[in-house]
C-alpha cells in the first residue's frame, strides 16, 4: 500500500526553514537557467525570424554573408525578370537589390559598434513584409535621409526621429522608424541604395538580391536557375536557411550556458540531498513505525521521492516567477542587449523568456529533485524497522 501524497506534502511543512532554503536554492538555479536559455533563444529567434520562407537570398558564389558579397547591375537586371518571381499590384517583380555595409556608429555610452546599414530601393518593404514604418515616413532617395530600426533607436548618438545621424562619410537625417516583428532588421539602418554605394565607394552597386517566389515550387526552380547561370557566378538560398546559418554562431554560447546551468544544478542537488538526509535522520522512528505498520519499502521510497520532487517543483514555480520579473527589469534597465553576431554587426535583441526556456529549467529542477532525493529516500527505505524503533 502506498503512503498518501499528503504525508509527503505535510512533511515539507513540518520543517519550514529548511524547506524554504532548499526550494530557494532550486529557485535560484531555475532563475539562472531560464535567463541564460532565454538570452540565447532570444538571439536565435531574432535571427531566425528574419527569414521569410518564400524569400530567396541571391549572393556571389562563395560568400557566406551579405556584407562580403558583390553583385553587378547587369546581374540584377537579368535576374529580376526571371520566371517565378512574385509580382506586386502594378506587376513589378518583387526583387529587391540591396547593398550591405557595416560602418562604425558611436554609441551613446561613447563606444563604437558596427551596425548593418542596408541600402535599398522602395521595393524592399514589399519583399521584407515584416518591416513597417511606425513613426515618420520612408526616406526620399538622394536626400541623405535614413529610416532606423526600433533596436537602433536611441542606442547611438543621433539615432532619433528628426536628428542627424553620422556614419560613413557624412551625416544623414532620420526621417522614420520601423518595426520588423522582432527580427534582426530592427537592428539595421535603411538608406537609399545608390547613396550608400556612393558613400562606401563600392565597385559594385549591390551586394545581393532578395526576392519573393510566386509559389513554393518556384523556390526550387529559381534557385536552380540562378545557381546554374554561367554569366554571373551567383547562388541562391532560402532566406530562412541563410538566417539559420547566421544564428549557428550562438551555439557556442548554448554550450557555455548549459554547462554553467548544469554545474549550478549539481551544486543545488547536493544541497537538496543534504536537507533530505537530515529529514530522514530526524524521522527515523517514524519510518520504523510506518514499516512496522506494514508499509513496504517501495512506499517509503516513493514518499520521500515525492517530497523531494514536490520541493523542487515549488522551487521551480518560485524561480520561474522571479525569472519573469527579472527579465522584465533587465529589459527596462538595459533596453536591448547587444550581441556581436557572426557577421561582425551588432544585433540588438530583446530578452524574452519563452516556453522552451522554462521547460529546460523545469527539467533541470526535476532532475535536481529526483537525484537529490534518491540517496536519502533509499536510506529511508533500507532502515530496518526494529533498529529504527530501537533508536527512538
Amino acid at each position: 500500500m502506498a503512503l498518501p501524497v499528503s504525508y509527503s506534502l505535510r512533511n515539507i511543512q513540518a520543517r519550514p526553514g529548511r524547506s524554504v532554503m532548499t526550494a530557494g536554492v532550486i529557485a535560484l538555479v531555475v532563475v539562472a537557467c531560464s535567463l541564460f536559455l532565454g538570452l540565447i533563444s532570444s538571439l536565435k529567434r531574432t535571427l531566425v525570424s528574419s527569414g521569410n520562407p518564400m524569400n530567396l537570398v541571391v549572393m556571389r558564389k562563395g560568400s557566406d554573408n551579405d556584407g562580403a558579397s558583390q553583385l553587378s547591375l547587369e546581374a540584377f537586371q537579368a535576374i529580376r525578370f526571371f520566371d517565378g518571381i512574385a509580382r506586386d499590384a502594378e506587376d513589378r517583380p518583387l526583387a529587391s537589390p540591396e547593398l550591405v555595409v557595416q560602418p562604425f556608429f558611436r554609441t551613446r555610452a561613447g563606444g563604437r559598434e558596427n551596425v548593418l546599414v542596408r541600402g535599398v530601393e522602395p521595393m524592399a518593404v514589399m519583399v521584407h513584409d515584416q518591416v513597417r514604418i511606425t513613426q515618420g515616413r520612408m526616406f526620399t532617395p538622394s536626400a541623405h535621409e535614413v529610416i532606423v530600426g526600433r533596436g537602433v533607436l536611441g542606442r547611438y548618438a543621433g539615432a532619433e526621429l528628426g536628428n542627424d545621424l553620422a556614419f560613413g562619410r557624412g551625416t544623414w537625417k532620420v526621417v522614420g522608424i520601423f518595426d520588423a516583428a522582432g527580427s534582426s532588421f530592427e537592428s539595421e539602418v535603411w538608406v537609399d541604395v545608390r547613396e550608400l554605394a556612393n558613400d562606401a565607394k563600392r565597385p559594385f552597386p549591390y551586394s545581393g538580391i532578395r526576392l519573393r517566389a510566386a509559389t513554393a515550387a518556384d523556390l526550387e526552380s529559381l534557385t536552380r536557375r540562378i545557381d546554374d547561370d554561367p554569366r554571373f557566378a551567383l547562388e541562391a538560398q532560402r532566406e530562412t536557411d541563410y538566417y539559420t546559418k547566421q544564428s549557428q554562431s550562438a551555439n557556442t554560447l548554448y554550450i557555455l550556458v548549459i554547462g554553467i546551468a548544469v554545474l549550478a544544478g549539481i551544486g543545488a542537488g547536493f544541497g537538496a540531498s543534504n536537507t533530505m538526509y537530515a529529514a530522514v535522520q530526524a524521522r527515523t522512528a517514524e519510518i520504523g513505525t510506518l514499516r512496522a505498520l506494514g508499509f513496504s519499502r517501495r512506499a517509503i521510497l516513493s514518499a520521500f521521492e515525492i517530497e523531494a520532487v514536490a520541493l523542487s517543483a515549488v522551487g521551480f514555480i518560485v524561480g520561474a516567477v522571479c525569472a519573469l520579473a527579472l527579465s522584465a527589469v533587465l529589459r527596462l534597465l538595459l533596453g536591448g542587449i547587444a550581441f556581436g553576431a557572426a557577421t561582425f554587426t551588432t544585433n540588438v535583441i530583446t530578452l524574452q523568456l519563452g516556453g522552451s526556456d522554462f521547460i529546460g529549467a523545469l527539467i533541470l529542477a526535476l532532475i535536481i529533485g529526483l537525484c537529490g532525493g534518491l540517496g536519502p529516500a533509499w536510506r529511508a527505505a533500507r532502515l530496518r524497522p526494529i533498529e529504527a524503533l530501537h533508536k527512538a
Partner: protein, 388 residues
C-alpha cells in the same frame, strides 16, 4: 592547535554531509571562477595580443570602408614610424573542412616581420614568405586544428574576393594567441588582375609599429592629419583599443552573466549556511556538555567557526583546481570543433584563483558565524534541557 583533532573529528562525524556540503561549495567556486574568467579572459587576451607600440590605422567610417593602398607609403614616411604594413581581409573559407572560416589577411611580405617582431616566426620562414609568391604563414592553432604542416598546400576560397587561391605553407606563428593566416598581397593582386578586375588597390587596416612607445599618440595624430580632408579620412588607435572595440558589443551579454554570477554566489551561501546550521543544531547537547565542564564561549565559538571555514577552504581549493583543470581541458579540446573553439580562450589567471579562494573563505565565515554564535551563547541549562 590542540583543538585540531576535535575539529577534524567533528568534520568526519557525518562524512556524507561534509562531502555534500564541500561539493556544493566547490561547484559554486568552479562556477564563479569560470564566469570571472570571461571579463578577465577578455582583458588578458587583449593584453597578450596587443602591443603598446602597435597602432591600427583604418578608415574613420569603419573597417569595411577601405583606404587607398598608396596611403601606406605616406604612413611609412611619418616621423617615428619604425614599420608599417597594409593588411586586407581575405575571408578565406577552407572548403575541405566544410567551408570553415578563420581570420585570413593579404599582407605585404617585406614589411610584416618588422611590424610584428613580437610574434615568434623563424627568420628563415619569413625569408621564404618573401621568396614564394604563394607562400603563407599560419598560426600554430590553425596548423594543429587542420593537421597542416610546413610545406603543405592548401586551397582557400575567398568570401570577399571572387577568387580561390592555392597556398604553400612556408612558416608558422609559434603562438596560441594568433590563429591567423597571412598570404602575399601581390599574389592576391595578380589573381584579381588576371580576372580582368581592377586589382587590389585598397588596404583595410594599416598596422604601424612606433619606434618609441612614448611617441605613439603623436604619431597617431600625424597620420590622421595626413588624411584629413581626403577621400578616406583615417582614425588611428592603439592595438589594444582596436581589439577592445571589436569585443565591445559583447558588453551587455557579459553584464548579464555577471549579474547571474552574483545570483549563483548567493546560492552557495544559502546551501552552506543551511548545512552548517544543521550541524550545530544537532550538536546542541554536546556543546552544552563542553560548556558544563568548563570550556569558554569564545573557545566553542572559535572551534565551530574554524570547522566551517576549514571545510569551505578545502572545498574552495578543490573548486579552484577543478576550474583550472576544466579550462585546460577546454583549451585542449578547442581544436576539435568550431562550436567549442572560442571557449578555449578562457584561462583561469592568478587573480581569479585568489578571488575564488577568498570567496570560499567568505562563505565559510558567513555560514559559520550565525549558528556558532548562537550555540556559544545559549545557556548550559537551556541547552541540556532541550536535549534531555
Amino acid at each position: 592547535m590542540k583543538y585540531l583533532g576535535f575539529i577534524l573529528a567533528n568534520l568526519g562525524r557525518n562524512k556524507l554531509r561534509t562531502v555534500l556540503t564541500g561539493g556544493a561549495i566547490a561547484l559554486a567556486v568552479v562556477l564563479v571562477c569560470l564566469l570571472l574568467t570571461m571579463p578577465d579572459g577578455l582583458d588578458s587576451l587583449l593584453n597578450t595580443i596587443a602591443n603598446n607600440t602597435r597602432i591600427s590605422v583604418h578608415n574613420k567610417a569603419g573597417v569595411v570602408y577601405s583606404m587607398p593602398y598608396a596611403f601606406t607609403r605616406k604612413v611609412r614616411q611619418v616621423d617615428g614610424v619604425a614599420a608599417a604594413v597594409a593588411m586586407t581581409w581575405f575571408g578565406g573559407a577552407y572548403e575541405e573542412a566544410g567551408r570553415v572560416t578563420f581570420p585570413s589577411f593579404a599582407v605585404e611580405v617585406e614589411h610584416i616581420g618588422a611590424v610584428y617582431p613580437d610574434y615568434p616566426i623563424a627568420a628563415a620562414q619569413l625569408a621564404d614568405f618573401q621568396r614564394y609568391r604563394d607562400g603563407a604563414i599560419v598560426g600554430r592553432q590553425l596548423l594543429r586544428k587542420y593537421g597542416w604542416k610546413i610545406g603543405d598546400r592548401v586551397t582557400l576560397r575567398s568570401t570577399v574576393w571572387p577568387v580561390s587561391l592555392d597556398f604553400r605553407i612556408v612558416g608558422e606563428i609559434a603562438s596560441d594567441r594568433a590563429p591567423l593566416f597571412w598570404m602575399n598581397r601581390e599574389y592576391l593582386d595578380q589573381a584579381l588582375t588576371a580576372q580582368g578586375g581592377p586589382g587590389l588597390g585598397i588596404a583595410g587596416v594599416i598596422w604601424v609599429r612606433a619606434g618609441d612607445p612614448n611617441r605613439v599618440n603623436a604619431i597617431m595624430r600625424q597620420i590622421d592629419d595626413l588624411s584629413r580632408n581626403s577621400d578616406a579620412e583615417t582614425a588611428s588607435e592603439t592595438e589594444k583599443s582596436y581589439f577592445a572595440n571589436f569585443f565591445g558589443s559583447l558588453q551587455g551579454f557579459v553584464t548579464i552573466i555577471l549579474i547571474i554570477t552574483g545570483l549563483v554566489a548567493l546560492c552557495i551561501v544559502f546551501i552552506a549556511a543551511n548545512t552548517a546550521s544543521m550541524g550545530v543544531r544537532e550538536r546542541a547537547g554536546e556543546i552544552a556538555i563542553l560548556k558544563a565542564i568548563g570550556f569558554g564561549r569564545r573557545v566553542i565559538f572559535s572551534i565551530l567557526l574554524v570547522e566551517a571555514i576549514a571545510l569551505s577552504a578545502a572545498a574552495g581549493g578543490a573548486g579552484v583546481c577543478a576550474a583550472v583543470g576544466l579550462t585546460k581541458a577546454l583549451g585542449t579540446f578547442a581544436g576539435w570543433s568550431d562550436t567549442i573553439g572560442p571557449l578555449g580562450n578562457f584561462i583561469v589567471t592568478a587573480p581569479v584563483i585568489v578571488e575564488g579562494i577568498f570567496l570560499s573563505l567568505f562563505v565559510g565565515m558567513l555560514a559559520g558565524v550565525v549558528p556558532s554564535y548562537g550555540a556559544a551563547r545559549k545557556s548550559v541549562v537551556e541547552s541540556l534541557h532541550e536535549v534531555f
